[in-house]
Amino acid sequence: MAPPWLDVLDETIGACVTHRRPDLEARLREKRAQQLDPKLRVLVVGESKQGKSQLVNALLNAPVCAVGDDITTTVPTFVQHADTPSAALVRNASARGSIFHTPTERIAVPIEQVTKQVSTAHSQDVVRAEIGIPRALLDNGLVLIDTPGVGDTRSAHTASTFATLMQADAVLLVSDATGELTSAEMTLLKKVMEACPNVTVVVTKIDLVPSWRTVVERNKALLARAGVPAKLIPVSSALRLRAAKTGDQRLNTESGFPELLACVQRDIVASADLLARRAVAVVASSAITQLVTPLREELTAHDSSRTAETISTLQEAQRRVDELRRRSARWQNVLNDEMADLISDVEYDLRDRTRKILREVDKTYDEADPAIGWDKFEQWLEDNLNEAATTNFAWLMERAEWVAAKVAKNFPVYREDLIPGSVLPDDLLEPVGKLDKPKIEPFSIPQKLFTGLRGSYGGVLMFGLVTSLAGMPLINVISLGAGALFGGKSILDESDQRLKRRQAAAKAAAQRHVDDFFVKFSKDVRDAGRHIQRSLRNHFSTLAEEFQETLLESARSAKRAIQDDQTERERRLREGRKELDKLISLYKRVQALGGPVMELSA
């Protein structure tokens, strides 16, 4: 008939499978196989140099484990029954890998050499040593496991000790009598108790210490204070080995080993079933506790991780909608400001350019005669105005593109088509009317003649009258000469005045023309600016609307997802409760096996 603990253990393993905890499952399966195995593993642990190996040797009366003054035990040594003495080193077949689940190979070595091999085998790949010797003590499946010291500087040793701990049915914790249990040893003891509750503390080397009885008393007090229900047995391996050599029974009794052996027989070998129940109870309840904890967390937590995710999606979507709103106010401001700046800048630029042209015109007609080469001038003016207009306009376009880029930068998201291709109106530049030619009166020969005659009249009369006093006739050589001089002068004067008039007229004409051009063109530029502004605004608001729609949609879908989750969560909650109840009832059954009583409430 299967023992009762087997059912409980199997059920716990089943629970681990349902809860998808392969690690716990593997651990429990290992325990199960180990409990079904008739072998009883007794682990000897302790800090380094406490006499663990010597204890094993003394228990068996055979030097199977390496002992020495420096640190000698480097790998766990398994000592079990065999009809003929034999020994083997077990090493990892693959060069790297953990202690578990790697293929291993056994190398048989002569039993006399195994201690030497173990203590010198510093190569990492030796996992353990296995020794078989014929001893009555080991006859009923007892396996003694000697382990490397805990707390040694070579941490690999400590790790392998803890790895073996999981397989132990009972533990002998070794501490020597030269000092009471240290805090490190108490920590170790508690750690051991978690994995295996059957612990006996062995105080060694009592032959060396005169006051070992006080140490034992103090240790007992320490154990009692820590609430550790462990037995404490003082022994001396040296005396035992000596007694075995000399066959001195009294010495054997003094060594304390008979009591230890009796304890091993009584508490470990004879009560294998109780041990199994206790061990299973401890392991199974720790496994169930591990299963219950996340389950309970899931039940109590208000939002499971998935809901939290959907909620965060929703929050993100809403955040982005808000962001978009905030940002669209910003980009509109940017657009308005930039365009206002742009238009005023462009207008100023245009005025500046035309003024420069006018200045040029003034300079030219301060000297030149418009009557000569007016056509050429007209051409020049037209060219210059055209150039100013084109430059100015190119500038406008450039700035407009820059504004578009700037607005795009203030836009919440980036897209390829964010910057509009063209923002310019098609019917932009209408030609300005032709330059009016100023009225230019040519100074004709009859006019010159008339002006000359009018000037010479005064001269002839003036000088004729003066010379008549000297008895000369009114018309004489002198008066005629003066008349010619006067006539010439007035012709010159007249033509100079006419030139001035022509120049003023030309300047006025040019001024008028440039003004016309400016008024017309600045209107055009302004229109173009406004057009650009309008088209940019339209472009960007369309984009913004698109974005907003996308975001709102994702927010809506997130909201829907949350609602879906709610129902899903309720279903899971119900299931979880049921699962938890099941686990708790299983836990109670485990407790009934006789493990330590731990509180586990729903």
Binding site: K49, D69, G151, A184, L208, S211, W212, A238, E254
Partner: protein, 464 residues
């Protein structure tokens, strides 16, 4: 100017700068005083490791262990003071309990520290501080210039303590000077007669261990009980031991199998159980075994026996280590403690007119050659700086890892005359100059070589 003088003048200057602050003045005065004192050595380790035993062995007198910091310093007559809280220390009696001296601190349940002045030749060059086992590294090293750390086998807890000690800002200038002691060497080999030699072997192994080496300057093994016994062996005890040795070897061995047997009722000699119990407590079962064996081997007078015990217990080696690593380096250890004290002061009370001193401090810490040597020793031992193996040994020797005297640095086992020293020195100097100038060598190697060259030049100065 030597480091010693530089630091001394800095202390005086700081006293002048901070003369209006009573707290700073108090702090500085205590350090000025400390500067001229012998090296302070803290003895630390886990509980029941034998700290008091080692202290007793070093003093050569037995004191009952105490639970607070106990300072032992040289004095003209035995006196003890208890420092408890603020205020003046109280003088207390030093009495006797059995074979041990006992400081009567009964009325002070919480003593900060007990200072015992004791006339002893061994305390001429050192001040020993026995620390309680629960003290933190900061507490232990706060008042000490160097550290004796006691342990059985090197365990992780011990390494953690030493690392913490070197982690602390106190260790910034240079590593804490530490000698690790494998105490209770007699227990290592389960009390066999050859336990001490195997303990020595283990100590040698730890000296080469990469985890241990950077944390201490040396590892020695000491059998504390035996060492104390060697220093305090009394006439009656010697007589009792001789009587024991007169028994047959086999017979005695049977009775020395365990402590219980030795102190038990059935004993072939007419010797009171109380006497045997007392012997056990004084020497341990191992001590009794070893001493009787030695007496049988012919060390049958007290003088001969004492000499053997001092040598075998490892006490001699421990003393040599203290001499090489602590007392010979008194100046630099003191300078280091004083610089750290100044650093603490500048941090606690920064001042405008202390700016120059702060700069001086920086400069001395960064550039004083002695500190650079110490840092190079630490770097070489921790493997931060790598040199080819034979060069590394020579570099370590030259920069004083094995002793700071010129002879030790040059590796002379005997008293070489100046001419010979000069020859050896010039040879080393030329070789190291070549390494320092080798463009193909890695940077850290060249820098290490430069320090060695500077050391050699310094050594050459008094010889030329």
């Amino acid at each position: 100017m030597t480091l010693d003088r530089v630091v001394w003048s800095m202390l005086q200057e700081a006293l002048a700068v901070y003369r209006d602050s009573p707290r700073a003045t108090g702090w500085l005065r205590s350090h000025v005083e400390r500067y001229t004192e012998p090296v302070r050595i803290a003895v630390a380790g886990r509980s029941r490791i034998g700290k008091s035993t080692v202290v007793n062995a070093l003093i050569g007198d037995e004191f009952a262990p105490s639970s607070s910091f106990v300072w032992y310093r040289n004095g003209t007559e035995p006196r003890a003071h208890v420092f408890s809280g603020p205020g003046r220390p109280h003088e207390v009696q030093v009495g006797r309990r059995g074979s041990r001296h006992h400081v009567e601190i009964g009325q002070f349940d919480r003593a900060d520290r007990v200072v015992v002045e004791w006339p002893s030749r061994s305390l001429r060059d050192i001040v020993l501080i026995d620390t309680p086992s629960e003290a933190s590294p900061e507490q232990v090293l706060g008042d000490a210039d160097a550290l004796l750390y006691l342990m059985r086998h090197v365990q992780n807890d011990d390494l953690k303590f030493l690392q913490a000690a070197n982690d602390h800002p106190i260790a910034r200038v240079s590593n804490v000077h530490t000698v690790a002691v494998l105490a209770r060497a007699d227990e290592i080999g389960a009390g066999r007669i050859d336990a001490l030699s195997s303990a020595k072997q283990i100590a040698r192994r730890y000296r080469r261990d990469v985890a241990v080496q950077p944390l201490c300057q040396n590892v020695v093994s000491v059998a504390g009980l035996l060492a104390v016994a060697a220093k305090t062996l009394r006439e009656d005890e010697f007589a009792a031991l001789r009587a024991l040795a007169s028994l047959g070897r086999e017979e005695l061995e049977d009775h020395l199998l365990s402590a219980d047997r030795f102190a038990g009722e059935q004993f072939p000699l007419p010797m009171e159980p109380a006497v045997r119990q007392a012997l056990l407590e004084r020497f341990g079962i191992f001590g009794v075994r070893l001493i009787t064996a030695l007496i049988r081997q012919g060390f049958d007078t007290q003088v001969k026996l004492t000499g053997q015990l001092v040598q075998r217990s490892g006490l001699g080696e421990l003393r040599d280590s203290i001499a090489i690593h602590f007392t010979e380096r008194r100046e630099i250890l003191k300078a280091r403690s004083a610089l750290l004290a100044l650093d603490v002061l500048f941090r606690m009370e920064p001042r405008q007119n202390a700016r120059k001193l702060m700069a001086d401090l920086e400069r001395v810490v960064a550039s004083a050659h002695d500190f650079r040597e110490l840092r190079l020793v630490a770097a070489l031992q921790a493997g931060r700086t790598k040199l080819p193996a034979e060069l590394q040994t020579e570099a370590l020797r030259l920069i004083g890892a094995e002793g700071a005297t010129p002879l030790a640095r040059l590796g002379f086992e005997y008293e070489a005359d100046p001419h010979e020293q000069r020859e050896a020195l010039l040879d080393a100097l030329v070789r190291w100059q070549a390494i320092a100038a080798d463009l193909h060598a890695p940077n850290d190697q060249r820098r290490a070589a430069q320090i060695v060259v500077r050391t050699c030049e310094g050594l050459l100065l008094p010889l030329s």
